[in-house]
């Protein structure tokens, strides 16, 4: 597993916290709404206690409670719906993406250097949200409500009566027959009366006097006067107050909104989510006290809902939490929570632990003999009382007592064959054993394994099994038992939830990389599995990230099938995420590598590549043509021929020349011609060869001397022969194939001021269609006809690349992308010829240096006389063709 921000103890402690319900009067709701918050949201940032609490356990020992967190939430009378929870989870995961700047750590394992982000915040967010949205169950009490805050304001006509109404309402919800949710811990729930006083509205005197009255009625430890909203709107503009709510309420929904348009699969509209959330609200609208139905269990959705339900206030809504609160008010709320917990909640828990302890002691073995084999328990069953006591002890961090209670409960449940109850007790027994200070016993991992197995196979409850696995994996991780954690996580993957499987597989992959000798390949493989599940779950970004991380292991190791597969997926995912450049490079990689794929697969790759490429090139400017990877050009085999390409034998005539493109280069023959030419020149110059002499070369190839710029004559063609190789097992079609060139005019040839169009400079011949069979090597002869003098540079070739329609699969449809046969892209490939290796000086011999190759950079000279000689039946016929100056 990846590293986490929280320590394992913090994580477990925060997973199980005392639940406190809230019931507000309408007026109280109105007062807190001024801050754009409801009452439970108002308290949320202050729910972690900074100071220590104390209570006495049944044996009168003082138990210290450190770093306690409580969870305050509005009463929701409907259990959370699975659909909503799933969407919420998927949302928080897709909203949490790795930061661009996040530091990736490099793990070196053998010959692998892997760049892996050490933390996985999306997993932690998922886990947190998942645990918070757990529905309360009958077999455990941990997330049942322990207390209820009843909130009214001092401005109401009769606050005391209001409190009574609220209290009755609470009683109705808990004990009435119509509401089965939320679940309550103990029959006589702690009621805590909170009088809200708006400093901006009413007089403080009245509030104080009501509070005095309340103290008389409910005792000093059962009520509280909370003064808020001290800030008037005038002051607000010039005071900067930190907004502690922002991180709790809308950490997710901003990024979300951006992501909606990109992420197709998660792109359900907000309204559809909201309609689901609102459904329970409508049914309870006639409720005498307006309860906020949504917020209690789904903090995230709450946040999502808030700005949207406000309609057009969306942008402002986010910035105005707690607008009427001063720092003083913040302190007051903090003080209130502390008072509530230490004076109200903890004594209540202490009292109940004592009571339960007495009951449990009273329960004799005879009772157990009287009622054996009872897989479902009534609420007052003694076995459940033990469990209840264990849960209370666990919540106040008394893990020793909790462990022994869980252990007893577990035995009872197992005796009765109550498997769900037994699994719950096993799970918590293992967790409390782990959390026991001083670790008197080793962590019983087998308890957890049994619990998971029972939850999953016997009770068919994947949610509980998942919670159990998450806890156990985190504990195993903290003990560096990575392979056990990985096994556990992998076991939890199943068909019913892609998102969960993906996240767990990713964590398993992290486990493998963290083992003492890192298992790189297992890491990579599980990353691929995770990526696959992520993409099935619609989390495209996460999928792409997983595949990219796995790619680091497979790249360049010769596992070409796997590499191609990953590249293909990366290409596709990048494309759907609108990162076409990455997509193109990934696809390019598949085609460039000496692919071992089957022909049909190659055809599919090629078509998809062309499709993506086409989209990219449409998006980018026309000016820069993309470089195409196919077909391969064997640039050193390029031949350049100057002048009209005559056939050697044309009818009865025979050209008196040794050069032709159809002829192989013959060193001896060309040496003979060269000597002949030298002799002629020498005779003309009275027996001396001029220093500037260079032999005429009509055809340049890899064996000729290409160090000098060749000369070409204006109005005489230049023919470039390019060798193409098709590496694929499918045919390719190149259309509109022509040469790309750059031309520098000789200044004096052009009158000042006049611009020459390309046509005036050089005529470029275009080959309209050039087909290549699978794995064929074929030459193309491309012609240029210069009309001006100057310096010509032939840069490369430009063409449309298309896949030849294969007979079997016309218009193949690959996952929604339709490829028509007319698919082609225009692009270029440069011709770059490396010159011969230099080997004359010592320096050149000891190092590797290459000389220039000027084959493709001819200088266009003014017209010259051309002498052609044809032999006809042993007679010599001379044709002089002078385009004389």
């Amino acid at each position: 597993m990846a590293q986490c921000v929280q320590s394992v103890q913090e994580f477990i402690q925060d997973s199980f916290v005392p639940m406190v319900a809230v019931l507000c009067s309408e007026d109280a709701d109105r007062v807190t709404r001024k801050n754009n918050l409801n009452f439970s949201e108002l308290l949320r940032p202050f729910c972690r206690l900074t100071s220590e609490g104390h209570l006495r356990d049944p044996s009168n020992q003082i138990q210290v409670v450190k770093n306690l967190k409580i969870c305050v939430s509005n009463i929701v009378t409907e259990p959370p719906q699975q659909v909503v929870t799933r969407r919420l989870l998927s949302e928080v995961v897709s909203a949490s993406q790795p930061a661009e700047s996040s530091v990736a750590n490099v793990i070196t394992a053998g010959d692998y250097d892997l760049n892996i982000s050490a933390t996985t915040p999306w997993f932690e967010t998922y886990r947190e949200t998942f645990l918070q949205s757990m529905p309360a169950s009958d077999h455990e009490f941990l997330n049942h409500c322990l207390a209820c805050m009843l909130v009214a304001t001092s401005h109401e006509n009769a606050p005391v009566e209001q409190f009574q109404k609220l209290s009755q309402e609470q009683h109705r919800i808990q004990h009435g027959s119509e509401c089965t949710y939320p679940k309550w811990f103990i029959p006589n729930t702690l009621k805590y009366y909170v009088l809200l006083h708006d400093m901006g509205e009413g007089e403080e005197q009245r509030a104080e006097s009501i509070y005095e009255d309340m103290k008389q009625r409910y005792g000093t430890q059962g009520c509280y006067l909370l003064k808020i909203n001290s800030r008037t709107s005038v002051q607000s503009s010039n005071e900067q107050i930190p907004d502690p709510w922002s991180q709790y309420l809308h950490k997710s929904n901003f990024q979300n909104q951006e992501m909606y348009d990109e992420n197709d699969a998660t792109n359900y509209t907000l309204s559809s989510v909201l309609s689901l959330i609102d459904a329970p609200c409508k049914t309870c609208n006639d409720h005498p006290l307006r309860l906020d139905q949504t917020s209690a269990h789904m903090d995230g959705i709450d946040a999502l809902r808030a700005p949207v339900s406000d309609g057009k206030k969306v942008p402002s809504a986010s910035s105005t939490h707690g607008a009427c609160l001063t720092l003083n008010d913040h302190d007051r709320i903090r003080q209130f929570i502390q008072e509530f917990t230490f004076r109200g909640l903890l004594p209540h828990i202490e009292k109940n632990i004592r009571q339960l302890n007495d009951q449990v002691l009273v329960i004799s073995d005879s009772y157990r003999l009287l009622f054996p084999k009872n897989p479902w328990y009534p609420p007052e069953a003694p076995e459940l009382q033990i469990r209840k006591m264990a849960d209370l002890c666990f919540l106040v961090q008394h893990y020793d007592l909790a462990y022994s209670c869980y252990h007893t409960a577990k035995k009872d449940f197992l005796n009765d064959q109550a498997m769900l109850y037994a699994a719950g007790a096993l799970e918590m027994a293992a967790v409390s054993a782990f959390l026991q200070p001083g670790a008197p016993r080793p962590y019983p991992a087998h308890y957890m394994d049994t619990a998971i197995q029972t939850y999953r196979d016997v009770c068919k409850n994947m949610v509980l099994a998942e919670r159990c696995a998450l806890l156990s994996a985190e504990i195993l991780k903290s003990q560096a038992k990575y392979s056990e954690a990985a096994t556990l996580l992998i076991k939890m993957t199943s068909e019913d939830s892609d998102l969960r499987s993906a996240l767990l597989l990713e964590q398993a992959a992290h486990c493998f990389i963290n083992t003492r000798s890192p298992m790189v390949r297992k890491f990579a493989f599980h990353m691929i599995l995770a990526g696959h599940r992520f993409s099935k779950a619609g989390q495209k970004r996460h999928a792409l990230r997983c595949y990219c991380q796995a790619m680091q292991v497979y790249r360049g190791k010769g596992w070409s099938l796997a590499e191609d597969h990953i590249n293909f997926i990366i290409g596709r995912q990048s494309f759907t995420l609108r990162q076409p450049e990455n997509a193109v490079s990934a696809f390019r990689h598949i085609l460039l590598n000496d692919s071992k794929q089957a022909a049909s697969q190659q055809g599919a790759f090629l078509r998809e590549y062309l499709y993506v490429y086409k989209n990219v090139s449409q998006a980018s400017a026309e000016a820069s043509l993309p470089q195409l990877p196919l077909p391969c050009i064997q640039s050193s085999a390029t031949r350049v021929f100057f002048g009209h390409d005559r056939r050697l034998a044309e009818g009865e005539k025979q050209a008196a020349s040794h050069v032709s493109l159809d002829q192989e280069y013959d060193r001896e023959l060309s040496q003979q011609w060269r000597e002949l030419e030298e002799q002629v020149v020498a005779i003309v110059n009275r027996g001396v060869l001029p220093v500037t002499f260079q032999p005429t070369q009509y055809c340049l190839n890899s064996q000729t001397d290409n160090m000098r710029f060749p000369l070409a004559v204006v109005e005489e063609p230049i023919i470039v022969e390019v060798v193409f190789r098709n590496p694929l097992k499918v045919s390719l079609v190149l259309t509109d194939l022509s040469l790309l060139w750059k031309f520098a005019l000789k200044e004096f040839t052009l009158p000042h001021g006049s611009e020459a169009s390309e046509i005036d400079l050089i005529t470029t011949e275009v080959i309209s269609e050039f087909c290549m069979n699978p794995e064929e090597t074929k030459v193309a002869r491309l012609k240029l006809l210069p009309h001006q003098t100057g310096e010509l540079h032939i840069r490369g070739v430009v063409y449309n690349l298309g896949a030849a329609p294969s007979p079997g699969d016309d218009g193949t449809k690959v996952e929604g992308i339709v490829f028509s046969d007319g698919m082609f892209v225009r692009g270029r490939q440069d011709l770059e010829i490396q010159g011969p290796r230099l080997n004359s000086t010592k320096e050149e011999k000891t190092s590797v240096r290459h000389g220039p190759d000027r084959r493709l950079d001819p200088i266009i000279t003014p017209p010259m006389p051309l002498l052609e000689v044809m032999n006809q039946e042993k007679q010599i016929l001379t044709v002089t063709n002078s385009t004389a100056c």
């Binding site: 010959d111 000798s517 790189v520 390949r521 297992k522 990579a524 493989f525 010769g558 099938l561």
Partner: protein, 147 residues
């Protein structure tokens, strides 16, 4: 029934230059080849784990056969490491009960002999993918046998 083979060279000259790339892979039928590539690649982790474990416990153990690396749902993966740390991996169908430890062991031995012959070829460049007709036919005959 599938058999698959992944070899890896280990340069004795310098241990740092250890690489893990396939020398030879063969599978029947070839339609799910990708899956086997992944399986074999992942199994290399287990091979390395086993090799390092052997080195610690008994130093001069000459046993090259590593036994069953791990069973997956459908396949069994067996491993073998030569003295020069070239790894052989055979993947067989789990349902094939005719192949027991001894058969697999002898298959590996045959492979090793054949591989040695390949290495003896003066024109073979250690580390290159194996392209040898004799080796091919030996592997094919072995795969046919076990089908």
């Amino acid at each position: 029934m599938m058999t698959m083979l992944g070899g890896e060279p280990f340069l004795l000259v310098s241990k740092q230059e250890q690489q893990n790339y396939p020398l030879y892979i063969r599978s029947v039928p070839s339609d799910s080849e990708l899956k086997f590539h992944y399986t074999v690649h992942t199994s290399l982790d287990v091979v390395e784990e086993k090799v390092s474990a052997v080195g610690k416990v008994i130093v001069d153990q000459r046993e090259l056969y590593l036994g069953l690396l791990y069973p997956t749902e459908d396949y069994k993966v067996y491993g073998y490491v030569t003295n020069s740390k070239v790894k052989f991996v055979i993947v067989v169908d789990s349902s094939n009960t005719s192949l027991r430890d001894n058969e697999i062991r002898s298959m590996f031995r045959k492979l090793h002999n054949s591989f040695t012959d390949v290495m003896c070829n003066p024109f073979y460049n250690p580390g290159d993918p194996i392209q040898s007709k004799v080796f091919d036919s030996m592997v094919s005959s072995m795969m046919v046998q076990t089908c």
